[in-house]
Every structure is written in structure tokens, then in C-alpha cells.
């Protein structure tokens, strides 16, 4: 069914519902007269984050919608059925009824400006890569998916290595260290129960799969993830996962792990032996050779855990793309704010020097030697990397209280994550570039 047909069917289908007023009375909702609702994503929206959940659940129920790129902050057009309005009311999401005339006007406006209407038609099967004992509150993506009410599966090394990722469309990685060095906390947090648990869990899994060490096992996981992207998967990574995934991929033939992780010291010539042709985003990075310095390489521009290298937080600016020519990049930067305060993570940002030439920069800090948010293709799939740990907790420390997203329903930093979740739902079409 073409989009136009779908829209037509949608409206006639609703109009044919004779029992509508009765149902409406039962639910005590206002009578639904308009065939559409617009979910505005500008400053009038009462809960930006949950609005994504409302749109996602429409797709989950087999419905369709449209994403109006650059129109009122990246609004959604959804069918105005009782389930949608009830869902929006429960979530506290603002919806505006839209009749055919108003919709036509909006379409005319979209046609004339740097805007586009992208059909949303397939609900992506979402997986979040996290250890089984991970607290939901320590991962920005898990937090925002739960807050928005977007369903997902949790996977970890056992699932990735045993079953692969074939049944998923979208995979998220957060602060996993794919170099197998436990985020290089091993020496500084020696004795901490959570670290002991992490070491024990990783060691058991690597042994069960017959790998000689945790770094070797993590590298195999990284390769499986890269293969998932190559075959058409969508990968979204934040924090350390961005940097260490590429380091693991590039270290196919070189030991980049410290003695405590695999029993042998890191190769002092490791930097020159990295194979960057295997990576997604980065190249020519210089590795951190000291096992006691909790940094991996000079990919990260902020080096937050090293006092003499740490850079101050600034603000990053989202790029403005042509919606009709470059819809993918445009989707990923939909927001009601262009400039967003930066936030630390073990990997906060990506130095421009280490980016591969084909990487699309989605957001950067003007004048700084680093960028914040990048995107690219790998085989048939795509990846997006977003530096930092928690957009609403700029200085996140181990043991900090969890972020309560009900206090940040308009978070522009979290919106970027949700753009990535919805992006695989968009109907693929021939791109002009």
C-alpha cells in the first residue's frame, strides 16, 4: 500500500467506525472528530520523550504514521484513533487534532521549505547490549526507552556469541569496554564489589566460549556486532562503547590489553600495529599505553578521568541538513534545540583528527578539536555514535543517584537517542545522495 493509499484508508476506516461515540463515552475522552493527530515536537509539547513512545506504539500495533522532519521540531502525524488519544493522554503527550484541510496546509508548507514527510511503517526490533546485572539506571538508552515505554530485549555476550543478532533491527551499546580491560578501572577500583563481580562474570563467559582471555572474547563480540551492521543492522553506541568497539576491531593482530586483563602486557608498539581498515568510525588513533590511566586512546577529546588532560565541558551544536536531500542525517538531528550542553562520559567526544573521511558529523562544538555526534555506513547498515554518558547528568560519577527522566521530559540530549530508535522505522527510499 502506498503512503497516500494508507492515509486514505486510515481516514475512511475511522469514519466508518459507527460505535465511536459510545466508546468515547466509556473512556470519557473528547469525541474524536478529526482523522489525524499531530504530535508537535516544538516547545508546545508537554513531554517530548514520551511522544516518541506514543509514535512507536502506533507502529507496534501495526499502524503507521509520518515523521514531519523540521516541521515544528520534528513532529509526528498519527491516526486519530481512540487508542492513540488514550495512550497520549495517559502519557501526558500533547496531540493536536488535524482535519484533512489542515493536513493539506501542512503538507504544502513542508513541500516549500527545508522539511520533509517520512512515512513510519515498520516497528524496529530493539536490543540493548548490557550485562545481566546492569542497573537500568546506569544506561541512558535503557532509561529513556523505559521512560518512553519502548519495548526492547536485553542481550549480552552469551546471546551475541551464541545466537548472533539476526533477529534485531537496532542494537544499542553503552559503556561496555570491548578491549576487555573493565573500563580500565581494574587498578583504581581494586577491591570494589561491583568490579569483582564484573571481572568474575566476564571471565566465566569467556571461558565458557573457549576464549583464552576476556579481551579475546570481547573482540569476538565486537566482530559479531560489526558483522550485524554490515548485514544491514542499525547500531547506536554511546560513551566508551563507541571508542572501544573500534579499538577492539582494529586490534585483530595486536595485544592492546593490559597485563591484568589477559596476563600479558600491552604491546608497546600497539599504536603502529592497529588495522584501521576494520573499524567503523575511527582511524590513526594513538593508544594510551599505561594500564593505570583510565583512558584508551586519543579518540576521546575530553579525557575526563585524567586530571591533567581533562577538558572543560562546553556545548555542542546540531548541524542543519537538507531534509529532502539528506533525510537520514536530518532524522537523527530532529530537535527543539540546536545547542545542547555537553556532558561527560568515559568517552565524551571524538577528536576530528581520528575520524574516517566518510564519517558524517551530526553535532560538534564550534572551534573545538572534537565532535560529539557522528554517523556513518558500514556495509548495508548504519551506525551512530554519541559521546558521553548521561545527557542530564553532565558529571556522572560511579554511585551517583539515578537520573529521573520525569524531571527532564524535554531533554534535547535524550531526544537524540530516541531519534535513533525511531530512525529504523522510517520507510527506506532512494536517496538523492
Amino acid at each position: 500500500m502506498k503512503r497516500r493509499d494508507f492515509l486514505l484508508h486510515g481516514s475512511t476506516g475511522l469514519a466508518a467506525l459507527g460505535g465511536l461515540p459510545v466508546v468515547s463515552r466509556i473512556l470519557r475522552l473528547p469525541l474524536i472528530a478529526a482523522p489525524w493527530v499531530l504530535v508537535p515536537m516544538d516547545d508546545l509539547q508537554s513531554d517530548h520523550l514520551k511522544a516518541y513512545g506514543v509514535a512507536f506504539r502506533v507502529l507496534e500495533r501495526g499502524g503507521r504514521g509520518e515523521w514531519f522532519l523540521n516541521y515544528r521540531g520534528g513532529s509526528f502525524l498519527l491516526p486519530s484513533d481512540l487508542t492513540v488519544t488514550r495512550d497520549a493522554a495517559l502519557a501526558g503527550v500533547r496531540c493536536e487534532p488535524l482535519d484533512e484541510g489542515a493536513l493539506l496546509q501542512i503538507r504544502a508548507e513542508i513541500a516549500q521549505g527545508n522539511m520533509d514527510a517520512i512515512p513510519l511503517e515498520k516497528v524496529p526490533k530493539v536490543a540493548v547490549y548490557a550485562p545481566p546485572n546492569a542497573q537500568p539506571w546506569d544506561d541512558a538508552v535503557t532509561m529513556v526507552l523505559q521512560y518512553a515505554g519502548i519495548s526492547f530485549d536485553k542481550v549480552w555476550d552469551t546471546e551475541v556469541l551464541a545466537k548472533g543478532l539476526t533477529k534485531y533491527d537496532w542494537l544499542h551499546l553503552h559503556h561496555e569496554d570491548f578491549t576487555g580491560q573493565y573500563s580500565k578501572f581494574f587498578l583504581n577500583y581494586a577491591g570494589a564489589p561491583w568490579l569483582a563481580d564484573m571481572v568474575d562474570r566476564n571471565t566465566r563467559v569467556s571461558k565458557s566460549f573457549g576464549y583464552p582471555s576476556v579481551p579475546a572474547e570481547k573482540r569476538a563480540v565486537a566482530q559479531t556486532i560489526a558483522a550485524f551492521v554490515e548485514k544491514g543492522g542499525f547500531l547506536f553506541a554511546m560513551c566508551t562503547a563507541t571508542e572501544t568497539l573500534d579499538l577492539a576491531l582494529a586490534s585483530q593482530n595486536v595485544d592492546i590489553a593490559a597485563n591484568y586483563a589477559d596476563g600479558t602486557p600491552m604491546d608497546p608498539e600497539a599504536t603502529s600495529k592497529m588495522d584501521w581498515s576494520r573499524t567503523l568510525a575511527f582511524q590513526n588513533a594513538r593508544l594510551e599505553l599505561s594500564p593505570t590511566v583510565p583512558e584508551f586512546s586519543d579518540i576521546d577529546g575530553h579525557q575526563v578521568n585524567t586530571a591533567d588532560r581533562r577538558q572543560q565541558l562546553g556545548a555542542f551544536t546540531l548541524f542543519n541538513f537538507s531534509a529532502k536531500i539528506d533525510p537520514v542525517a536530518t532524522m537523527l538531528v530532529q530537535n527543539h534545540r540546536d545547542v545542547i550542553p555537553d556532558f561527560y562520559g568515559l568517552t565524551t567526544s571524538f577528536t576530528r583528527r581520528t575520524l574516517k573521511p566518510a564519517v558524517t558529523v551530526l553535532a560538534d562544538e564550534a572551534g573545538a578539536p572534537w565532535v560529539k555526534y557522528i554517523h556513518g555506513e558500514h556495509g548495508q547498515g548504519t551506525w551512530t555514535f554519541y559521546g558521553g554518558h548521561d545527557p542530564e547528568d553532565p558529571q556522572h560519577q560511579i554511585g551517583d543517584p539515578p537520573t529521573d527522566l520525569s524531571l527532564h521530559p524535554h531533554s534535547p540530549g535524550y531526544r537524540l537517542i530516541l531519534n535513533n530508535v525511531l530512525f529504523p522505522a522510517a520507510k527506506k527510499r532512494e536517496l538523492k545522495t
Partner: protein, 582 residues
């Protein structure tokens, strides 16, 4: 001013302007000044070139050498300074700044042997100076090499044959290695050498794990110096023993009044933010001690503060002692006397000694300003209320037309069951008197009373009085009884909701659920929404998640305009794990 004078004046101005211009030009022509200027503007490469030019003609020019170092650091090219540093040393073999730059440059080039050679040469020039070894240690630390840093510091100690050389540096190293006994040993020496180190020493040693703290304190205790005592006092305070710290301080105070006052004041700064019982008691003690040592004019204020601290710590005897001393001293300023009297009366009321408090109020009546007097009188009225003497309380408030007084009178009228007058008084008081919590409580109370048509309900008054006395069991039972006699939209629903809340807090969940459901009546939509929220909350605590979800969803859909919808959404989010439990 005539033309000549004007002309001369202009001439002077022009001369001054030219002189200034010439100075600016000369400054701009001086390469060192131009280099400073470029460096300030962030043009480090250009600044470095100019500094090099200066050093080519004046190799021992320390300002240029240090400027070059500052410019090369942000360019990440510090090792490039090595030739200039070598020439500077050759030109002036006693230049400490040149040696310092050379050490840092070789360290940046990661050439430890060269660092060592420069340090040895420097140390030969200045055999009793710690600086070469300090720089050597810093160079090693820049490569995170603590072992070499420690070796450098200990070598200095050995060569200078003094046990306290670079003690602060060694203390910090030991603390980094979590070797707290060594750190304590070194810090004691460092503080003895330079008392200004005490703050850093305390911050460093404060990190000592709890199990090691007694040993560290014993270790410091073995040192009999005043500096060691002060260090121990600060550590005890940081480690949660402010009373022990104060006793130690009091026993080791210097006979010199100025030194003793300084020590007490510093201790006061340490304890002033503490809110624990011991912290408050220690604050009272140090303020009392200060009051005894400072000039007479400062004494009453300190005694008053001490009394408040003692009262907050629950040490009523000490608080009484202080307050009686202040209030009874006729030499004190009237505001101090009235402050002390008001606090003393408040203390007596809190103790239940209302008759004694009344006497005190009469005694100090003339010295209390009107506002303070009314405040004291209200606290006395509350004291009588607590003893069940409503008439006496109302009598006291008869002439109090303030908003706070009216609000309190409203509550007392309610306790007597005089609903009509209680409503009037609470309404007249409005939502602005007292603290925000008090105003909210008053508004909630008024919301409960407003639908009630009866003018007098003594049983309801007793119920509220029981509630304010903390007897929730009696209060909830009485509320249920009264509610049964009222129409649901005539106050019955509101009273059931309140009774349900009290029963839920007591764990009587079945009764609470029944009352919440009974309070959901369409004729009282605001109460129905609030009762639905309470029902949802109760069901969640009972683990009946599905029922709770249904209830909360119904609330959001049925009462979309209700002010409590955001709370319902939050509960819903919590029930499905979308936000953390708080």
C-alpha cells in the same frame, strides 16, 4: 582661562600624550613585551618565536625563558626549549629558573637520565635547596612514576641530613599509595615546619579508611606538639567525633589568649555546618568558650548562639544556663535580651512547662518588641492547646489580629468543634501565613471543612485534636464515625479520604481501601480524584500492580484537568519501572 593659559594647557596635554605614545611605542618595540602580548592573545607560536629572538641575544633572560616555556606547553612542544635552557645554564650557572625549565623540558622529552644530570648540577650549585629534588619528583610524577619521585625526595632528605625535607611531598605520595600511617608521619613534620599545610594535611588524611583511623589518631597523639594536637582535633571533627575533638582542643589551648581564641574560632568554623547532635553540642561548647574569652560587647551574641546550638542538640540545661545569663544581664542590648527571652520561653513551652513560660513572658513583656511578644504569645497558646486548655489558648489570642494569630485561632476553634467560626478564621488567615507547609496544611484543612454544612461538630473537633496530638488511631476512628453522619458531598467523602490516609499509614490497608473507594463520589470530583490517587498508591504498595495501573489510568482519563494528574502519571511511571523509585 585666557588664550595663553589655554595654549599652555594644550601644550602640556600634547606633551603628555606624546610621552604616553612614546612609551607605548617603546613597549611595542621591545620584543619581550610584544612576546608577552602575543602570548596573552593566545598566539603561542608567534610568541615562542619572539621569546627565542630575545634569548638569542640574552640567553640568561629568565623572563624570556619562562615565557618560551609557557608558550611551548600549549603547543605540546616543550622539549624544543632544551637548547635555550642549556644556553641559559651556561650563561648563568646559578639561575634556578633555568635549571627548573631544563628539568621540566627533559622530563617532557621523556629522558630521565638527562633530568637526573640537570638536577645533580643544580644541587651542586644549591646544596641546601629542596627545589632541585622537588622538580625532579614532579618530573617523575608527570610520568606517573611515583617510585622515582619518592627516590628523589628521599635523596634530598639524605643529602641535606634533615628528616623533614620535602615532608609534604612525601606525605602526598604516601596518601596516593594509601599508606596512611606514613602519610600521617610526614604530614606532622610538614605541618610543624609550615602550619599552613594543616588544611591540606587534614583533607589528605581525612580519606583514611575507617578501620585505620584509630591507629592514625594514636600515631598523632604520640607527638606532643601543638601542631599535632590541632591536626588531631581537625581529624576527629572530620571523622564524626566533634565532642572528642572539642575536649582535646579545650585541654590543649595555649595560655596566650590570642592564640587560644584563634584556635577556638578555627574549630568553630569546622563545626558550624554540622547538624548531628554531637556537632551541635560541640558548636554550643565552643561558642560558650569564645564568649568567655572575647570582649564583653561580643559576649551576649555568642551566648545566644550557644544557647540555640545547645537547644538544637537537646541539651536543655546548658541552653537554660546560657539564656538565663543573657536575659538576666541588664547591660545587654535590648534586642539581645528579647531574643534570649523569646528562645527561653519557647524552650519552656517545648518542655511542657507552660505555666513557667507564662511567668517568663510577663517578666520580659516590656523588653520584648511587639512582633516577638506576639510570636511568644502564640507559642504559649500552642502550649496550652497541647495541655487541652483551649479556652486559655483562645484567651491569649483574643487580642492577636495577625494572620498567624487568626490561623492559630481557627485551628483551636476547630478543636472545640466550632466548625462555622473555624472556617471563618481559616479563610480570613488565607494561604500566606507561616511557612509553606503550614499554609498548605491550612488550605487542606479548609478544603475538608468547606463542604460541611453543620455549624458545630464537637466529635470532629476531637478527631482533629487527636490527630494533632499524634493519636492517629483515635483520629481515624472518630473521622469515620463523623463521616457516617454526613452526606458524601457534605463533607463525608473528604473525611473518609482523610481517615483512609491515616489508616493506610497505620498499615490497615483493607479499611483504607474501603474508605478510599467510598470517597470516590461523582458529586465531589476533586475529592474523588484525590481518593483515586490514594487508592492507586495503596494498591501499588500492596503489589496489586494491574489494579493500580487501571486505577491510575482511570484517574488520568476521568479527571484530565485535575491538579493531581502529574502525580498519577509519576506513580504510573514508577509502577512500570520507567523512572526510579524515590
Amino acid at each position: 582661562m585666557n588664550r595663553l593659559a589655554r595654549g599652555t594647557g594644550r601644550g602640556v596635554l600634547i606633551a603628555v600624550a606624546f610621552a604616553g605614545f612614546a612609551t607605548v611605542v617603546r613597549a611595542q618595540q621591545d620584543p619581550l613585551n610584544r612576546a608577552f602580548d602575543l602570548e596573552r592573545r593566545g598566539s603561542y607560536a608567534a610568541a615562542a618565536e619572539l621569546y627565542r629572538t630575545v634569548l638569542a641575544s640574552r640567553p640568561a633572560e629568565a623572563s624570556a625563558l619562562l615565557g618560551l616555556e609557557r608558550s611551548l606547553v600549549p603547543l605540546n612542544k616543550l622539549p624544543e626549549i632544551i637548547p635555550q635552557a642549556q644556553k641559559a645554564i651556561a650563561a648563568d650557572p646559578k639561575s634556578t629558573s633555568a635549571y627548573g625549565v631544563a628539568v621540566r623540558a627533559w622530563a617532557a622529552a621523556d629522558l630521565p637520565d638527562s633530568v637526573r644530570k640537570v638536577v645533580e648540577r643544580w644541587a651542586a650549585v644549591e646544596p641546601y635547596d629542596e627545589a632541585p629534588y622537588r622538580e625532579w619528583g614532579a618530573a617523575a610524577l608527570s610520568h606517573r612514576d611515583r617510585t622515582s619521585a619518592r627516590r628523589a625526595y628521599l635523596l634530598a632528605r639524605e643529602r641535606m641530613n634533615r628528616p623533614d625535607v620535602l615532608a609534604a611531598e612525601l606525605a602526598q605520595l604516601a596518601a596516593l599509595d594509601q599508606d596512611y600511617p606514613t602519610a600521617a608521619h610526614e604530614w606532622i613534620m610538614a605541618v610543624r615546619q609550615l602550619p599552613g599545610y594543616r588544611g591540606v594535611a587534614v583533607s589528605s588524611l581525612a580519606q583514611t579508611p575507617e578501620r585505620l583511623r584509630p591507629d592514625i589518631l594514636k600515631q598523632i597523639d604520640r607527638d606532643s606538639t601543638t601542631d599535632a594536637r590541632r591536626l588531631e582535633v581537625d581529624l576527629r571533627t572530620r571523622w564524626g567525633d566533634p565532642l572528642g575533638a572539642y575536649k582535646l582542643l579545650a585541654g590543649s589551648l595555649s595560655p596566650s589568649p590570642a592564640v587560644a581564641i584563634d584556635a577556638l574560632q578555627q574549630f568553630y568554623e569546622e563545626v558550624r555546618g554540622l547538624t548531628s547532635k554531637d556537632g551541635l553540642e560541640a558548636r554550643g561548647m565552643v561558642l560558650e568558650a569564645l564568649a568567655g574569652r572575647l570582649a564583653v560587647a561580643q559576649r551576649p551574641k555568642l551566648q545566644l548562639d550557644a544557647a540555640r546550638a545547645y537547644a538544637d542538640a537537646g541539651d536543655r540545661n546548658a541552653a537554660h544556663r546560657m539564656l538565663t545569663a543573657v536575659a538576666g544581664d541588664s547591660r545587654n542590648a535590648p534586642d539581645i535580651v528579647s531574643g534570649a527571652a523569646a528562645t527561653l520561653i519557647g524552650l519552656l513551652v517545648d518542655e511542657g512547662n507552660v505555666a513557667e513560660a507564662s511567668k517568663k513572658m510577663e517578666e520580659f513583656r516590656t523588653s520584648l518588641p511587639v512582633d516577638d511578644f506576639q510570636r511568644v504569645r502564640r507559642s504559649l497558646a500552642l502550649g496550652w492547646v497541647r495541655q487541652g486548655q483551649m479556652d486559655r489558648a483562645l484567651q491569649l489570642l483574643a487580642s492577636d489580629s495577625t494572620v498567624d494569630g487568626t490561623a492559630l485561632a481557627g485551628r483551636i476553634l476547630l478543636y472545640r468543634g466550632d466548625i462555622a467560626n473555624a472556617k471563618k478564621a481559616l479563610q480570613a488567615a488565607g494561604p500566606f501565613a507561616g511557612s509553606r507547609e503550614e499554609a498548605t496544611a491550612r488550605a487542606s484543612l479548609l478544603a475538608i471543612l468547606q463542604p460541611i454544612e453543620e455549624d458545630s461538630l464537637p466529635a470532629l473537633g476531637k478527631a482533629f485534636y487527636s490527630l494533632d496530638q499524634g493519636d492517629t488511631t483515635a483520629a481515624s476512628a472518630a473521622l469515620v464515625d463523623v463521616a457516617a453522619k454526613l452526606a458524601p458531598d457534605g463533607g463525608g467523602a473528604e473525611l473518609r479520604l482523610l481517615a483512609g490516609q491515616l489508616l493506610a499509614a497505620q498499615g490497615k490497608t483493607e479499611d483504607a481501601e474501603r474508605l478510599f473507594r467510598a470517597a470516590i463520589v461523582p458529586k465531589s470530583p476533586a475529592t474523588a480524584a484525590a481518593a483515586t490517587l490514594e487508592l492507586g498508591r495503596l494498591l501499588l504498595t500492596l503489589g496489586r500492580r494491574d489494579d493500580a495501573t487501571h486505577t491510575l489510568e482511570q484517574l488520568i482519563l476521568d479527571y484530565p484537568q485535575s491538579a493531581i494528574v502529574p502525580q498519577a502519571r509519576r506513580l504510573l511511571d514508577q509502577s512500570r519501572g520507567a523512572v526510579p523509585q524515590t
